[in-house]
Symmetry: C2
Subunit: 355 residues, 2 copies
């Protein structure tokens, strides 16, 4: 029986482990967005954790680096070149695992759907990983991974599967973002009252929630999800796992279902999940470009969209502010990545209209 629990201690260990391999990204503020997020009776001071500035352009490098370093430390007698890792992914996790493998001297295989953008396949190969293409179904991806694992083991070589999110080492790595954000907000004399993180497979949200509650059990932790891919919202409220069926959202990083490990961690450590529409996501994203002069991907703007437009969220903060007897609340928001297709940006912004 594998232990699927993740503690704040695991996340602190991950932070020590990955230090020097990943960036400690800055936390930025924007008074214009604070004004736009203000409510009649509660002001919000927003603190943005900029993992769009992270290596490979997204937070995924944190979990990937922690997973590989954990693997290496479990066999300190072997050299990194004796290790191989494998995953299947069409997005940021593939690039992150390939980059981390190259940096740490480990071999890396990635099974990618044949309809992945060639720029993404080239990037993964550019980091020295071996790419195997498969037909674009989850079954084919898993079959591809299992075939390579069997082949390697048949020839006496060890290889370790690193899942994109449903893995305690990956979750602990992603949680380091929240540790840093809480320290950075506290150093600005603004300890966080609320933390908002996007939720797709739940690796980031579960890790950040464990970290945040571990540092301050009183913090209110919110998952932010596109209404068009609201499996986490429905699972959370039904208190049982409901998979994602035909998710429709431009936030391509958030189309996956929760996992067996991430779902119980979210149930235990998250206070609410709020959803936002596609137009709200693009409006929030456009404001980040216009007002903060930052490039973020659609998935990264979902947290800000909740703070600006989420009606359930606005109701919650009224209750929270009244309970805490505060007129202003400090809200941490995760900008998870900045890997956006520049060729489609104008088309994307058209969705927002003139706001």
């Amino acid at each position: 029986m594998i232990d699927h629990r993740v503690s704040v201690g695991d996340i602190r260990n991950a932070a020590d482990r990955i230090k020097g391999y990943v960036h400690r990204t800055p936390t930025l503020t924007c008074s214009t967005l604070d004004n736009l997020a203000a409510n009649p009776d509660v002001g919000l001071k927003l603190f943005f954790k900029c993992d769009n500035f992270q290596k490979v352009g997204a937070f995924k490098i944190r979990g990937a680096t922690n997973a590989i370093l954990s693997l290496l430390s479990s066999h300190p007698d072997r050299s990194p070149s004796e290790f191989s890792v494998i995953t299947h992914s069409s997005g940021n996790h593939a690039q992150a695992l390939a980059y981390a493998s190259q940096a740490l001297g480990v071999r890396c295989h990635v099974v990618m759907p044949s309809n992945s953008a060639s720029v993404k396949k080239d990037a993964v190969r550019g980091y020295g990983a071996m790419v195997t293409e498969c037909v674009p179904t989850l079954q084919a991806r898993e079959d591809g991974v299992n075939a390579i694992i069997s082949e390697m083991r048949a020839s006496g070589k060890e290889i370790t599967f690193i899942p994109p999110y449903d893995d305690v080492r990956v979750i602990a790595g992603q949680g380091t973002m929240a540790l840093e954000l809480m320290e950075q907000a506290a150093s600005l004399d603004a300890p966080l009252d609320i933390l908002i993180a996007p939720v797709g497979g739940g690796g980031m949200l579960s890790g950040c929630a464990v970290a945040a509650k571990g540092v301050d059990p009183g913090i209110w932790v919110v998952g932010a999800e596109p209404a068009g891919a609201d499996d986490a919202y429905r699972s959370f409220n039904a208190k049982k796992f409901i998979p994602s069926v035909d998710p429709q959202t431009i936030a391509d990083g958030l189309r996956t279902s929760l996992g067996e490990i991430t779902f119980p961690l979210i149930m235990a450590n998250v206070d609410a999940i709020h959803t936002v529409s596609e137009v709200e996501i693009v409006r929030a994203m456009k404001l980040v470009y216009e007002r903060m002069k930052l490039v973020v991907e659609p998935s990264a703007a979902v947290g800000l969209a909740v703070a600006l437009y989420g009606s359930e969220f606005k109701e919650q903060i009224r209750i929270l502010a009244s309970k805490k007897q505060k007129q202003d609340l400090n809200v941490g928001i995760i900008f998870s990545g900045g890997n956006v297709d520049l060729a489609n940006l104008s088309t994307l912004f058209d969705i927002a209209g003139n706001n």
Copy 2:
């Protein structure tokens, strides 16, 4: 006879004056861009001064704020509401002067060409300035300003013209960017060998050159200009003022000619002016979005374009590195602003092709 000299002392005074009214913007680095800028025998370490994060999205607020505060301090017996300022501009200077006027409690008039984007006219009005429209010629703009000045003076009211760049208070304000950048690079143990600033009217380049040479007379100061608007390049090399005729460049902030005050300051303090093509400007801009995850306007990318693609520049740095007996040079680059039309961004990036 008016004194048209600007000293590093004037720029230090401007820095003290505008402190608290404008942002001290961060200086960022990017190892991927350092690698792309490296030459066979000379490495470059790039330090980007991010005035795209400045208030109103561009450096122009520095000069406008210094000009108004200088005006107020010359009549300490009067209240700010007794002062009026006026300018003509279709771009960042109009918004900057309007914003600074509102912040300092001064009245502001802006003469804007009737073909200015309505979003820009609305923004200027949004900062409380009075907008007068005119036909889109320089003559009509100047006539519009003079008519308002005459009218105000006829009714016994004082009003001061604040030019967009050819003004010692404006130049001193823009120079504060270079003071900050040199301090920030030095605090990273990387004193600058080279400073690159874009050049249009020359307010920023002249101010930054005076500041840089005042702090370190050995620094090499470079003006970066679009080849399609190369009046500064031609004037500098001919050692006489040659106006801009029908400039053609997407770098809309750099279409103006040098001024009577900025040109002599540039001749005295700048070491070279290098030009780059439109494709080079867009390629550099695209790299900033892709690799640094920052939103910059085309004018702001011209300095990086010189560092990446300028053939005369590459020749110069070989000589400079050899003279200094250094293998790596520290290069400061000004990102002047981030006010770009998001609706046209994809079309713009198409110019760059796949790089």
